[in-house]
């Protein structure tokens, strides 16, 4: 096993802002908005109506089809409405809105202890599906689907992703330091599903406390070890992880299972543990609130559906004398920008990052023509040629763009980060990929 991958960049980590701040549970006071599409796949179907009384941990949206996920109430109270609400990306999505009574009364049957050792494979899978667990690292892909590969006997590695390579974010770090036993317990459950596989907890070297805590917890589990890797972006990307662990590279359309891997974020692994062992559906998660504009950067345990504005208020709001210029859900590399903080947290939101300065705005003012310096080619973790891809994309030569394997791009942004000419490469690739896919769907029209 290697300790790093080819390419990548070293953005300023900025994790010191919140990395040593222990978790604080945020009990929201405002309304809770449970979007029914918080995952990849079909939105959940609402199973409550306006006026219904709900309790924390009660099902409000039922998975609709195979690739979908259940949605649970994260507070107790009365259903105010089932109506479209704006999500982080600004899109209107159907949601269950709950008038929070501030009691957080648990629903019946939630929190009942179970013995995972006594559960069958199917019972474990059912529990994960029941709990509405999706990839909490950011992708939001329904986890139970991932745990049912076509050829389970070919799975060699179960990898818990604790790399957390995004700058500012440190909630996974805190999770590993605070709940190492639960993460190790989750891995033990996953290893029961795949008896021939090896368990790996992959952590970047800049988290020595988490490595130590996880090592101690993993000792007690057979076939489970910690793999410290070099600190480099995008180490936390699924492809980089698989390259480090197996030496193999995924191609477009391939799943990790095709090279014998299943990769889950450490917070997902913990959620699996909570669901199987404690019958706890997914209604809360760890979120880092950080960035130069925040008064008290914090790590919070947040009830899903809480408004991001409440997260910011909990972290002391914006620093005095500073104007908030940009707010991101997620970190600066892969995260998206909000126009407005009054929208609800979702299962895959791991951070709220707030800046007084907009790096994109600044980069735009420094933009020059491409120097052809080739730094992007050297940083691409997939071995693509972003310089050539950009030239093809700019002249709308989609045929050549595809020939350059441009559709392989995972939009990690490494090329854009390192570009001295400040070219908006990733934006160009994201747009070009979307256009090519649209042309394919539309039959070339």
């Amino acid at each position: 096993m290697k300790t790093t991958f080819r390419g990548g960049v070293h953005p300023k980590e900025c994790k010191e802002l919140a990395r040593d701040v222990p978790f604080e549970t945020l009990l929201p006071t405002g309304e809770i908005v449970l979007l029914l599409a918080q995952h990849i796949g079909k939105p959940a179907a609402p199973v409550v109506q306006k006026g219904d009384e709900v309790k924390m941990g009660q099902l409000v949206g039922k998975a609709d089809g195979f690739v979908s996920a259940n949605i649970y109430a994260s507070c107790s109270g009365k259903v105010k409405a089932v109506e479209p609400r704006r999500n982080v990306a600004g899109k209107m999505v159907n949601a269950v809105v709950i008038d929070n009574d501030g009691q957080f009364t648990l629903a019946e049957g939630v929190g009942v202890e179970r013995n995972p050792e006594a559960m069958s494979r199917q019972e474990i899978l059912d529990a994960v599906g029941w709990a509405g667990i999706v990839g909490l690292g950011g992708a939001g892909f329904p986890t139970q689907v991932k745990l049912m590969p076509r050829e389970p006997e070919k799975i060699e590695y179960i990898i818990a992703n604790g790399a957390e390579c995004e700058p500012y974010i440190c909630c996974d770090d805190q999770l590993m330091r605070t709940y190492p036993e639960e993460i190790a317990g989750g891995m033990k459950i996953l290893l029961r599903l795949f008896p021939t596989a090896k368990g790996i907890v992959l952590i970047e070297e800049n988290k020595p406390e988490a490595i130590a805590a996880m090592r101690q917890a993993c000792e007690k589990v057979e076939n489970l070890s910690v793999l410290p890797v070099k600190t480099k972006y995008p180490q936390g990307g699924e492809r980089s992880i698989i390259t480090v662990v197996t030496g193999k590279h995924l191609r477009l359309g391939m799943l990790p299972a095709d090279v014998g891997c299943i990769v889950d974020n450490v917070s997902t692994v913990r959620a699996i543990y909570r669901a199987v062992r404690w019958t706890e559906p997914l209604y809360e998660r760890a979120v880092t609130v950080s960035g130069e504009a925040v008064k008290h950067p914090k790590n919070l345990i947040v009830k899903l559906g809480t408004s991001f504005q409440e997260l910011l208020d909990c972290a002391g709001g914006i620093k005095e004398g500073v104007t908030l210029k940009k707010a991101l859900y997620g970190g600066p590399m892969m995260g998206g920008a909000f126009a407005d903080l009054n929208c609800p947290t979702m299962k895959n939101n791991n951070a709220l990052t707030l800046f007084a300065e907009d790096a994109v705005e600044k980069a735009f003012s420094q933009m020059t023509a491409c120097l052809k310096c080739g730094r992007c080619n050297r940083t691409c973790p997939l071995g693509l040629q972003p310089q050539m891809m950009a030239a093809a994309a700019e002249r709308r030569d989609y045929e050549y763009y595809e020939k350059l394997y441009g559709l392989e791009c995972v939009s990690c942004g490494s090329c854009t980060y390192g570009c001295p000419a400040k070219r908006p490469l990733m934006q160009l690739f994201t747009q070009t990929k979307a256009e090519i896919m649209a042309i394919r769907k539309g039959g070339g029209k």
Partner: protein, 507 residues
């Protein structure tokens, strides 16, 4: 909760990444400037303050040209990216120390305006602006561009010394205390190159491939095989270091991919070696690089590395060097050999052209003649001299050739003698001397006069040469003031020719 927030309170939205690295185009260019400073400083220390003026002129002219162009065509002002400074500095380091200031001025103007701005500005030019401008200057101002001086005196460059079989002091080549261009210190260039490699301004591929292929070529086809000291001098002089580390690596005009850069480096190295061994000028590297620049779009077209996921695993016995790399190397070699073949083929033509040039000078000194034919008697007398200096009282004056000038009717009107004096201040002086049948001088024309500019070179001016017309000995001729050595050498050679003609004149 309001469905919409007031527009004023909305935050910036954009696609990511929302963090950008500290590196900017200006910093990239600044790194190149810094890397060129050691060579510049050593150059100024060696050649004196005038060379600093040359550097300054080139840089200012480059910046000014770009600024004026951007203003004139209403483009966003781009001088702030410092790329014009880099071009000006690079060009000036490739100029002789004592060029007139209009040379760097016009060079930078040409580089920025014609090679860069007209092609669309930064990143769009197809050839290295500094080197293309240098080649333009070599063609336009050949004398000024090849007049290499040291302490105000024209001195042979290490490369010229090497070509003449003289020994070259490698220590002086490193320190840059030889005759040559301003940026000729090998030490300064290497220091700058190391800096650039460390900060990531250049990658190893192009310099390594260039230097390696060049060394191998020189070793195989050069005069002294793989003799280490010979190779070291060949490597450290004539712009090879400047070319390999600073010119060929210009990101705009080199391939962007790693394998492409290796192939390109090999092409540059082979062409440099070929032009140096087979070519006629010392400026092989400049020509090699700008010619290789033209191959770059093709290299970028065929040498596209596949993503890691699509590359063949090496342990499966796949070829390490891609097929395209081999193809391109082969193309480079074939092109090189073809060029050397063309040189060999045209060599005779060149000789004939030189003959025609001599014929022109014959006509100049003996205007009455329409045709020239060898004279057996004089030829025999010259052969008898055996290439030794003629007589004892004329210094080292050698009679090269004598030819009879005839009218259309066939009647002999006079003779032209080609004479070389070995007593010139800077080397050989060769001239044609026209004589009537009775030995009166009709004219003198120089075919080789490399004397100190402004001094010995004045011997080629009519003020001096016209004194010879109509006389039959050199007693009335006055020497050029300040160029006594050159004048005396010429007068001695003329006397030798007159004496030789008197003794052997056909009746």
């Amino acid at each position: 909760m309001a469905a919409f927030t007031k527009r004023e309170t909305l935050l910036n939205i954009s696609t990511g990444p929302h963090a950008r690295g500290p590196l900017t185009t200006r910093m990239v260019m600044l790194d190149v400037v810094i890397s060129l400073l050691p060579a510049t400083i050593l150059g100024v220390l060696n050649f004196g303050w005038y060379s600093a003026l040359v550097v300054l002129t080139a840089v200012l002219s480059a910046v000014l040209t770009e600024a004026v162009f951007c203003w004139a065509v209403k483009k966003k002002q781009t001088v702030g990216d410092l790329s014009a400074v880099v071009t000006g500095l690079m060009l000036s380091l490739c100029l002789p120390a004592e060029v007139p200031l209009y040379v760097p001025f016009l060079g930078s103007l040409f580089a920025i305006l014609f090679v860069k701005c007209f092609f669309g500005g930064l990143g769009k030019n197809i050839m290295n602006p500094a080197l293309t401008a240098r080649c333009f200057l070599l063609i336009a101002f050949g004398n000024a561009m090849t007049n290499y001086t040291l302490d105000g005196v024209t001195t042979a460059t290490p490369l010229a010394m090497l070509a003449n079989g003289q020994a070259v002091d490698l220590y002086r080549v490193f320190a840059g205390t030889t005759s040559g261009v301003i940026g000729c210190s090998a030490l300064g260039l290497i220091a700058g190159a190391v800096y650039l490699l460390i900060v990531g301004g250049i990658t190893w591929e192009i310099p390594a491939a260039t230097i390696l292929s060049y060394t191998v070529f020189i070793g195989l086809f050069g005069a002294k095989g793989f003799e280490p000291e010979y190779l070291a001098v060949q490597l450290c002089t004539g712009g090879v270091l400047m070319g390999a580390f600073f010119m060929a690596t210009d990101p705009v005009t080199c391939p962007t991919t790693s394998p492409g850069q290796l192939v390109y480096g090999v092409v540059v190295g082979l062409l440099s070696g070929l032009f140096r061994v087979k070519g006629t000028t010392q400026d092989s590297v400049s020509y090699a690089i700008i010619m290789s620049n033209l191959v770059v779009p093709f290299i970028d077209m065929v040498m596209v590395p596949k993503p890691y996921a699509y590359r063949a695993q090496r342990e499966k016995g796949a070829r390490i060097i891609p097929k395209a790399a081999l193809t391109l190397c082969a193309i480079g070699l074939v092109a090189g050999l073809a060029l050397s073949g063309i040189y060999t083929l045209t060599k005779d033509t060149i000789y004939e052209q030189q003959l025609a040039a001599s014929a022109a000078s014959y006509r100049e000194v003996l205007p009455d003649a329409q045709d020239f034919a060898p004279d057996e008697g004089l030829d025999a007398a010259i052969a008898a001299l055996n290439g030794e200096p003629y007589g004892e009282s004329y210094g080292r004056s050698i009679i090269n050739q004598a030819i009879a000038g005839k009218k259309a009717s066939g009647a002999t009107v006079g003779y032209v003698l080609s004479v070389t004096s070995k007593d010139g201040f800077e080397g050989d002086i060769t001239f044609s001397l026209g004589l009537t049948r009775d030995g009166t001088i009709t004219g003198i024309a120089f075919t080789e006069l490399n004397e100190t500019p402004g001094k010995g070179s004045l011997c080629g001016e009519p003020a001096f040469t016209d004194q010879f017309k109509g006389v039959s000995d050199t007693s009335p001729v006055n020497a050029v003031s300040g160029a006594t050595v050159s004048s005396v050498a010429i007068m001695n050679a003329v006397d030798a020719a007159l004496d030789f003609f008197a003794a052997n004149a056909p009746q």
